[in-house]
């Protein structure tokens, strides 16, 4: 039985445990509320944590659809990129899966002499972390761009009045 198939059998349980660890990166009072409230509109963060981990876990086993994985990562990272986290804290949830698997499998696999299967699988999690880093940076770049755009929009008509924006029309175009 491969390590992947052992994981596959425990997908629901392990992704739920992973979600639990991600939830623990938030303050205790918040964990209580976000763990309890299941409505996706009243509790978008809690529900997204559950959704993202539930999607990512099997994707990690299949490891054949980068776009799907990015999409699931994006859901959660987009949120954590604007929360009060440092960049490393924001994407730390990926490494929490590593922690979970080590807690669950390290000792028994060491005993059985199959530890290298775990280490091999962990390389996927490392890859996931690199994808997470790219997505995080993309989210942040978007925010910087939006900041500039916002200032421009707020002054639109003033720039026009100062002739800093000039509309091109057929009659006036020189080319």
């Amino acid at each position: 039985m491969t390590f992947e198939s052992i994981l596959a059998e425990r997908t629901a349980e392990l992704s739920e445990k992973w979600a639990g660890l991600v939830l623990q990166t938030y303050p205790r009072e918040t964990q209580k509320i976000w763990g309890r409230q299941k409505d996706r509109f009243d509790n978008p963060v809690g529900v997204t944590i559950i959704e993202a981990t539930r999607e990512l876990f099997p994707s990690l086993l299949e490891w054949d659809d980068a776009e799907k994985i990015s999409k699931s990562l994006d859901k959660l990272i987009r949120i954590r990129a604007v929360q009060d986290f440092s960049p490393s804290q924001a994407i730390s949830f990926v490494f929490l899966l590593k922690k979970l698997l080590r807690d669950e499998f390290f000792k028994p696999m060491k005993k059985e002499g199959t530890l290298e299967d775990l280490l091999r699988f962990e390389a996927k999690i490392d890859n996931l972390a690199m994808m997470a880093f790219d997505i995080y940076s993309k989210s942040r770049e978007l925010i910087y761009r939006m900041r500039v755009d916002e200032v421009k929009r707020a002054q639109h008509n003033l720039l026009k009045k100062a002739k800093m924006i000039v509309d091109v029309t057929v009659e006036e175009s020189t080319d």
Binding site: Y26, D39, V82, K99, E150, Q155, L158
Partner: protein, 556 residues
């Protein structure tokens, strides 16, 4: 955002467990991005010259510094100010006493939902103030501070107030769920008043306050420049429709004074909504005027203290009286309507001139009794009435490329109960309208997270996480119904919902309701339009003879 951690912090562990201290002991993060820039000293000096005694000493300071340069007697000022307000505002005293900490509000605040910061739970935000109330003003609190969750006013407490009472948009969603009806917005207002007394303020609020007081609009644009800008829009309307519309400014002797947020005059995309007003009024040949003196409907004073709110609000009746107007028509704005609906009559009702009468539509004859007290009518009530009486020729198919949802702005929705009129107008001017989920609209609407003076770019991350609940509901209708447009009736919304949508539901654009009215409005029988209000080709109505592509669009 927090600062990037030092290498050794990363090196030691990747255990990211949050602090397990109680909220009172958890320190506040004062790194940049967690606060709005303080007001420029010259703005505060100006305000102090007009309304002395409310602002502390004008000075350069930064919330990022350890020393906030508070006056020596700051504690006395705040505690005395608190006591004075407890006596003056019965509601504040009641709100301080009756909360039983049931937690019904805890998960209702958009800032909490998005951030997970417990101090953004309305019950805890209020507790920041209530703990001081107990510690300073109640006997039990003075004796048993720990047991009753009390504390006295200290510098750390004041600094905590500054961070968290500027992470409240006064949207009042929490009070909707409070069994006692405690209004956290009013508590935030009081906390801000007290902070102003010792010179804690933000520039995004105070500069517009000063400008509105001097020139009448939030950017301080002078009347002649204001006129030029309105004329630009008249030119654009002519290019789109072929019709040169009137834009009367500061004219005496008209029945109606029209006031809208000045953001609609200067900022994209509010300008398209403003053009919509001009077109509608020209179509109706409405007897109205605009004013430069009262050109800001939005009341930035309401984010500071009740004295400034009153002073800025008073300009509306002053101008109506000066120009001889009978009543005031108000544009699509948020907090303007909270102030008009809840405070204007009490604050300035006695300054209404004898010429003022209950708003009556000159087109349909409808008398708007609900506006009898203030003499101010909301534009969507006015337009909805016109549509109901079949007074507008509309071609909703001009908006067929738009798949529209509607964001209830907090103030009109919860502050004045304006829920059906904007929907009636939208349904009449477009064919594709989809509601967001029930728990996110109408009275339960989620805030844009930019209200009450927070719509500034230095705290964009705070706004974005506060905007998550709205963005999440928007994404839902985008996925389900291909919604590509979110309409709203507030100028702050029109500005702040753009980054919100770009981040949480990319591809959705933001529009005012009267921009869509303008697109659909048929000036004359057989009138052809090829451009929308943004001067972009109107899908399905493009000019077939025009094959010219602007140079910057050639590759597109």
């Amino acid at each position: 955002m927090s600062d990037i951690p030092k290498a050794d912090e990363l090196f030691t562990s990747i255990d990211y467990a949050p602090p397990i201290t109680g909220w009172m002991e958890t320190p506040v993060d004062f790194s940049p991005g967690n606060w709005c820039y303080p007001a420029k000293p010259e703005k505060m000096e100006y305000m102090d010259s007009k309304l002395p005694g409310l602002w502390g000493k004008a000075r350069e300071w930064s919330p990022g510094d350890l020393d906030w340069k508070l006056p020596a007697n700051w504690k006395e000022t705040v505690v005395n100010g608190f006591r004075e307000r407890l006596d003056k505002f019965r509601s504040l005293k009641v709100f301080m006493d009756i909360c039983v900490r049931c937690g019904a509000c805890a998960d209702k605040c958009h800032f909490f939902i998005g951030s997970g910061d417990p101090k953004n739970m309305p019950v805890l935000r209020a507790e920041l103030m209530r703990s001081v109330y107990r510690g300073e003003f109640t006997l039990a609190g003075k004796i048993m501070s720990k047991l009753t969750g009390s504390r006295v006013m200290e510098e750390d407490v004041l600094k905590e107030w500054f961070i968290y009472f500027y992470q409240c948009t006064q949207c009042r969603r929490c009070s909707l769920f409070c069994p006692y009806g405690i209004d956290t917005a009013e508590m935030t207002m009081m906390a801000r008043e007290l902070m102003h007394l010792v010179g804690l303020n933000t520039n995004w609020i105070m500069e517009p306050v000063a400008n509105c007081n001097i020139t009448g609009n939030h950017l301080g644009i002078q009347p002649h420049a204001f006129k030029d800008i309105v004329d630009f829009m008249v030119d654009d309307i002519e290019e789109i429709t072929g019709r040169r519309v009137k834009a009367p400014l500061n004219e005496h002797g008209h029945d109606i004074l029209f006031i809208t947020p000045s953001g609609d005059v200067f900022a994209d995309p509010g300008i398209y909504t403003f053009m919509g007003y001009l077109m509608l009024f020209d179509y109706l040949d409405l007897d109205y005027t605009l004013s430069t003196y009262a050109s800001e409907g939005g009341n930035f004073g309401s984010f500071t203290n009740n004295e400034v709110m009153k002073k800025l609000n008073a300009k509306m009746y002053h101008e109506a009286n000066r120009l001889g107007c009978k009543w005031i028509l108000g544009g699509e704005c948020g907090h303007m309507w909270r102030v008009v609906h809840q405070y204007m009559d009490t604050m300035n009702g006695d300054t209404q001139g004898p010429q003022m009468t209950t708003p009556t539509s000159p087109i349909t004859g409808t008398v708007f009794d609900t506006s009898a007290a203030t003499k101010m009518l909301h534009i969507t009530e006015f337009t909805s009435d016109l549509i109901k009486h079949n007074k507008l020729k509309l071609d909703p198919s001009r908006n067929d490329h738009l798949r529209v949802t509607f964001h209830d702005s907090c103030n009109p929705a919860r502050g004045m109960g304006l829920l059906e009129e904007p929907r009636h107008v939208i349904r009449s001017v477009c064919n594709n309208f989809f509601e967001m989920p029930e728990s996110t609209i109408r009275e339960q609407t989620f805030c844009c997270a930019g209200g009450a003076g927070l719509n500034t770019e230095e705290i964009l991350e705070i706004r974005l996480r506060g905007g998550l609940p709205r963005g999440n509901a928007l994404k839902y209708v985008q996925d389900k119904h291909d919604v590509n447009t979110m309409a709203c009736i507030c100028a702050i919304d029109r500005a702040t919902l753009i980054p919100l949508a770009d981040y949480w539901a990319p591809g959705v654009i933001i529009t005012g309701v009267h921009e869509m009215v303008a697109n659909a409005l048929v000036f004359e029988e057989g009138e052809k339009r090829t451009l929308d209000m943004r001067l972009e080709p109107l899908p399905g109505f493009e000019d077939e003879e025009d094959d010219w592509t602007p140079p910057n669009k050639e590759d597109a």
